[in-house]
Subunit: 528 residues, 2 copies
């Protein structure tokens, strides 16, 4: 499929603006040929207007219509075949294997939401029976379900051109709930975005979805994103990216006449605690697990392990030396984009500017837009004195903190901001005796991991991918898997509402045959 | 029980400040004798420090310990007997019947949360089994539950001295989740608040809860409330009150280094649509239901029906005349406080300042802090031109809007901000043919009511007491009943965590015998 760089707005294509941009090949640093047309404010308005008029009709599509739409999206993304795999690699510098894995995950998420739509219990349908003879006043018939809030704007992640972008978890969960979606395409992979957007739009057309259920806007400046978040017809925002980007959007959203939620997944340093006994038992396994996690795809993951806390001992010194040795074997890897590489250089240098921070990997020749893993080390004391050392360095960089005792280690954890994950490498016996340490770590994170690395986020109902601020803007919600759908909904109660006018999920005969709570108990029951 | 006006901080009492205030008898306008000591910043710090140190211990109390605490709260509130009923009436001017009804509701809410704690499914415990042989990578063991976020600040409502105040839905749901609570007592009913706070603290002591699980601070200025919301150890806020108050707290909370959620329930005009056919069939019943709802306790409810939309006809003219006649029979009622009365006078006058707005009830002699119901009327055209007419007048005031046709009526509804409720009086046949009108109304509200009034909020699982902004700050959450507890929690996932260190709800043997989702299916199952 040919790219044309136009904005895909409902079922039309536009390139009315005067400014364009190109994506870049991260290895060769050559510009790719497509000229992407920056969306104009008029084009943006058009996308929002269409999404807004599509809302009622899309929200009232039947379960089967929505499933057919999702099956068609699945089909057309798969159908993009090697065109998609090629542009993914050209724009991201990531490997073919990664391209395939990310497509598999993207398609898996679509399949998951087909199952969620089919099952229908995401709506949390709930019925309380009336008690017309209750004294002093009768109890009315009350029913409740979750309903979609309206048009959503999604800002994709730079580091997941497929799985967290155009048809990623935010878009798919929002569409599953019944909300139209406008994607502000990530300018670093606008070509990958365009192909996926075309697949979604083709699916929408084929399955007779209302025009405007999905649009894709190109932009390499902040204005269009801000304009979208300000737009009164937009009801919520999904964002994956930096703390700076996320908090800027939150500010805009909070200033609106009607403030709206920005569900932002922002930075995380994913603290890892390595205790002594496990090193005695499983030194090599621990070193290899961590090394693999640190160097994976140049460390460009929200779950990258950026801080490793150890207790001072000859064993922990061996551990960090072996970890550095293992990381020294890694060949240079391209980062996603020179802008990301520049930030990496700046942030890693800011750590190394402290004379108490030493690099333990072997420095290598600087190659533009390429990095090799950097492992540094410092004392717990230095870490406690310098809050900058707790800040994320996005990329294959980790800091080993050597603490003199458990109290110091716990104090270090207590200084951290909210994180997506926290890992502990320990024997079960070690863990049992470290209650305060675990409590402190838990208070900072959304996921606790035992003897494992934070990278590799399993998509399942029990996964929570979110954490206290600033890991995510709303610690109650996650961006991965089932619970993502809740972000785009609100409950609506119906009091004494005529049965034939109730939404299907709440009707007496349970025509969707879904699980509902009836007077507090889960069941598939029909009511008389 | 004697009131002493001191701040109840953990298990101590303080009155270190220099300034005091008194509550007022709304009918006689005499000051009540107790001097309430305004909390100092140091006292406030003390309350937060205690709540913060109590958090871990309180969060890890067993289900039975927490139930015993709640049973003791229930017992001690009931035990306050006529002391509580007396001060309630003295400070609010509300009737003995209302005092009893509100106590019943308060105790009912405590009983409800005892059942919720007992049942345990509020935690949404969820387990995904591992697949150690899965290719290319094994699936880990992942489990998840909701956990309390930390110390909560509750601002009670002026208009519900018991049910939405010191031991109201916010406090009780937060304590049920495992969060310590600091109440910023409402200065209009500080005595009622003190008695209830003493009951909670006595219950906490008797059942060996950690000191600081509950504190009660007096303040009749904004500083202590702002200071609490800014305090880094506070993790969420519950507020019921005005849009001005709620949005001010939201601003403070959003500006923190770690922004926190303010769950604010703010104003609502609760639009009511009255269609022609129902007036033909049930004029008297409709008039009486609405009249009773409008005049109930001087209309001082968040669910007061403030706007009534009708279609122009002789029938609807009869309707509004009869409604006015019925309201004219109401004797003057005291408002909760002269400050509220002053705002009522100002806001109702601002409506009547429009020459196109006419009063249809008979004006009566002005008695300080007392009102009789006021019914006014205007055209749909005037309503559309003047957004001020869509703003809440808190008290026994309703505006009847006479629209020329259904399109105008729908446009009027479309101009509304978010509301708690929307009612339609109609025959089922009328309703079926008014799809756009219903859609428009639904997009603005959290609860749709058929042939009923918005007052009288049933506490049950299917009740949603919340709505799009500004009815509530987070339209996903309600302040009444079961779902209130979700506001004080966040999910935590445990990956490959040793069984004996998991929270009880997630352990293999299901020692709490609660419903959990295991690989996506609800069950009471134990795992091997």
């Amino acid at each position: 499929m040919e790219l044309n760089g136009r904005n895909l707005i409902g079922y039309q294509e536009y390139s009315n603006g005067n400014s364009t941009f190109q994506t870049i090949h991260p290895t060769s640093l050559e510009l790719l040929p497509t000229l992407f047309s920056n969306a104009t404010f008029e084009e943006t308005d058009k996308a929002v207007q269409l999404a807004s008029s599509a809302f009622e009709m899309y929200a009232s599509t039947t379960r089967n219509q929505r499933i057919k739409f999702f099956q068609a999206i699945h089909h057309h993304i798969l159908d993009l075949g090697s065109d998609l795999m090629d542009i993914f690699q050209e724009e991201s510098g990531l490997s073919f294997q990664r391209a395939v894995a990310e497509r598999t995950r993207t398609l898996g998420q679509i399949q998951l939401f087909i199952e969620i739509i089919e099952k229908g219990d995401w709506m949390k349908a709930s019925i309380d029976s009336p008690l017309p003879d209750r004294k002093p006043i009768p109890k009315p018939d009350i029913r409740k379900q979750l309903e979609p809030v309206g048009p959503i704007v999604v800002f994709g992640a730079s580091n997941f051109p497929l799985a967290y972008s155009t048809a990623g978890g935010d878009t798919i969960s929002a569409l599953a709930s019944g909300c139209p979606v406008i994607v502000k395409s990530h300018p670093m992979h606008a070509g990958t975005g365009e192909l996926v957007a075309r697949a979604i739009i083709q699916a929408a057309k084929e399955t007779n979805m209302p025009e405007g259920v999905f649009s894709n806007l190109n932009s390499n400046t902040y204005e269009i994103g801000s304009y979208l978040v300000k737009h009164p017809h937009i009801k919520a925002v999904g964002f994956t990216g930096s703390i700076t980007g996320g908090t800027a959007l939150m500010k805009i959203a909070n200033k609106r006449t009607e403030p709206i939620p920005v569900y932002a997944e922002m930075g995380s340093v994913n603290p890892v605690v390595v205790l002594p006994e496990i090193l005695e038992l499983q030194m090599i396994r621990t070193v290899q697990q961590l090394a693999q996690s640190i160097r994976l795809d140049a460390g460009q993951f929200c779950t990258h392990p950026g801080l490793i806390f150890t207790l001072d001992s000859s064993l922990s010194h061996t551990f960090r030396t072996q970890l550095a040795t293992e990381l020294n074997t890694q060949k240079p890897q391209a980062m996603l984009h020179p802008d990301i590489w520049n930030v990496y250089q700046k942030n890693s240098a800011s750590h190394l500017a402290f004379k108490e921070v030493q690099e333990i990997t072997t420095p290598r020749e600087l190659v533009k837009n390429h990095i090799t893993p950097t492992l540094t080390t410092t004392s717990g004391k230095t870490f406690l004195k310098n809050p900058l050392l707790a800040e994320e360095v996005f990329g294959s960089y980790s800091l080993v903190i050597v603490c003199t005792n458990l109290t110091e280690l716990t104090s270090c954890l207590d200084r951290l901001k909210g994180q997506l994950t926290g890992s502990i490498f320990a024997t079960p016996k070690e863990l049992i005796s470290k209650r305060i340490l675990i409590q402190t770590l838990k208070s900072k994170v959304g996921r606790l991991i035992f003897n494992g690395v934070p990278t590799g986020v399993e998509v399942c109902q029990s996964m929570h991918h979110g954490g206290p601020y600033p890991a995510t803007s709303h610690s109650h919600y996650g961006a991965v898997g089932h619970e993502g759908i809740l972000r785009w909904t609100r409950p609506v109660s119906y009091q004494n509402w005529p049965d034939e006018l109730l939404p299907k999920a709440l009707q007496n005969s349970n025509p969707m045959d879904i699980m509902r709570t009836i007077d507090g108990e889960w069941s598939h029951k029909k009511l008389a």
